[in-house]
Symmetry: C2
Subunit: 353 residues, 2 copies
């Protein structure tokens, strides 16, 4: 049996406070609660203490709804659609537990249980070193990943503003500085300016930190990237398989690992919405970084008029909270698209309505 | 579908440092890590950071092995043995997530994700007020329980020395001061002396706190009892069903709730090992407190020679870490005794060997 743990690195960066840079949370006062609410939805199947359900200004729900829907469909299917495995009656090939949330700099408390990485919210790299204790956060995550009794880690993130810090890290490492967005019209010009200013203020030219990933993430990254890098380090050290569930942010964490000399197989599991986003350039990014890319489509086009689906089909939200990773797990377990979508819509009804 | 959350209140009391009072952890240096290790076994299916696997001096494993075994059997059975429900194709009657661990005064860190109740380890009531901030701990637990989107809470504990503080609280409330033990020869004389001294030092005669449960738990209780009381308060306020998974400690928490004026139905789900322990007087205690008692037998007598079972059959360990609660969940889901025992032995092999 393959024991799979889903880990969600939840944190924050002050970059999210830049007007117009993220749709993760309808307005700034709400945005700070987004990672807490995402953690609760993933853990409990509903917001449980956080004062808001994260939806975009147009009403598109957080990708946590997709992730929880995928997990619930997976759990319901176990032993049935998985069927019997070939090893003499043992049921099901994969065991996937409730996700474990890592507090990698949550700005507001959550009622979801968390493993603390003693991380503070990340700073805006235009003002301050983004993550002064990036190495310590990374190392705590490594210790955790080394100790988990599992065969495979599926790692996701929730950090508003995180696509911009990911872009900055990719640039500092000299990688393709792709950038996705939770907004249908990606404010790429704004992000490019923020990244350019951040690199400039921190004294980094493009590729200047190619041999020093610690410097890249400390200078212009965020605590979630440091945490995911550390998880990858720990997993690889223990021969645990790694699936990075997400888009450009998880790719940036993979880039940190690659520039750290990690050559192990790494998989990037993302949504079809990221794959359809040219600015994310996810296929190219995955190829650059030697990541096996898996794209999963939750089949929203069969119900395009639903508030849980229409925003995604229009290019909003796209990915996050391990959506691509959990969709891949459900797909791997034989959950069909119709059932998957039904489960996601069920979570939406329960969580948002 | 019934959504059930298993909550584990994990904490400590300096009462556990009294020589000879507990078998939870083979020696004092190890004992402080017992709740952390229990939390990890329940969450991950194995110790994941804690430096020890809790076993008694004779090698009997922590009841966390029973609880995790019951949950794994339950998860494997879902959709299969539960069969189809009557509501038109929805699978399975009950959804049980990975347990949520509450840090109610952990003395050592754990890698299991936790919800912090901002609780310190409890003091020895012969020296100091046991839990000065009991009311605040209780209230934080209440807020959590109120916010969880579930239909039923199954609540357990891990706190070495907790049977003695439970006995003290029962005495302070004027209830039957029953006491179970993790030791085959319950040191009832020692516990009686500790409780008598504690009540004396704290100025409480038997029953003196019958109208003031807050005083009882603050004076002679422990932070786990305060937390469980708070969970019951919150669950009852939200019409969430409550199952107390344990023995005399959970009964003491129920006593706090009853003396707090809570008249809602409460169930006490315990192991057959507690039911067979005359000193625990669990049937009488349940009757006194108007608790519906459910006793589950994991069927160890069919494999009496195994290191995972023989200690329990000889009266060691008996209960803890929500063993009775999780065994009841597995039984309710139709998991047969043979399968349950196999699952527990499988966890033992993985965790202890």
């Amino acid at each position: 049996m393959t024991r799979t743990a889903v880990l969600l690195a939840a944190g924050s960066t002050r970059v999210a406070e830049i007007e117009g840079i993220t749709a993760a949370g309808a307005d700034p006062s709400v945005r700070a609660h987004t990672p807490a609410a995402d953690a609760e939805i993933l853990t409990y199947g509903g917001v449980a203490g956080a004062p808001v359900v994260p939806v975009s200004p147009s009403g598109t729900p957080t990708p946590a709804v997709l992730s929880r829907g995928a997990l619930e469909a997976l759990w319901a299917s176990r032993g049935a659609e998985n069927g019997e495995s070939s090893d003499g009656g043992e049921r099901a090939g994969t065991y996937v537990a409730t996700p474990t949330v890592l507090d990698a700099g949550l700005p507001e408390p959550t009622t979801a249980p968390t493993v603390s990485l003693d991380a503070a919210p990340g700073d805006d790299p235009r003002d301050d070193l983004a993550v002064p204790d990036a190495a310590a956060i990374r190392d705590r995550a490594t210790t955790l990943a080394e100790s988990l009794p599992v065969d495979r880690l599926v790692i996701g993130e929730t950090i508003p503003g995180g696509t911009t810090t990911a872009k900055a890290v990719l640039a500092a490492l000299g990688e393709r500085a792709a950038v996705s967005s939770s907004l249908p019209e990606n404010p790429t010009g704004l992000k490019r300016r923020v990244v350019a200013d951040a690199l400039d203020v921190r004294g980094l030219s493009r590729g200047a930190a190619a041999d020093d990933p610690e410097r890249a993430v400390a200078a212009v990254g965020d605590p979630v990237l440091a945490a995911v890098w550390g998880l990858v380090r720990g997993a690889v050290a223990g021969d645990t398989r790694v699936v990075l569930g997400g888009g450009t942010q998880l790719a940036a964490a993979a880039a940190l690992a690659r520039h750290d000399g990690i050559t192990a197989d790494l998989e990037l599991a993302t949504t079809s919405f990221i794959a359809a986003d040219d600015s994310a350039a996810i296929r190219e990014l995955a190829a650059d970084l030697d990541l096996a890319l898996r794209v999963t489509d939750p089949g929203f086009d069969a119900r395009p008029d639903h508030p849980a689906t229409s925003g995604y089909l229009a290019g909003e939200a796209k990915e996050g909270v391990c959506a691509g990773g959990t969709l891949a797990l459900a797909s791997e377990a034989g959950v069909g698209t119709d059932r998957l979508r039904q489960s996601i819509l069920g979570v939406y009804d329960r969580v948002v309505e």
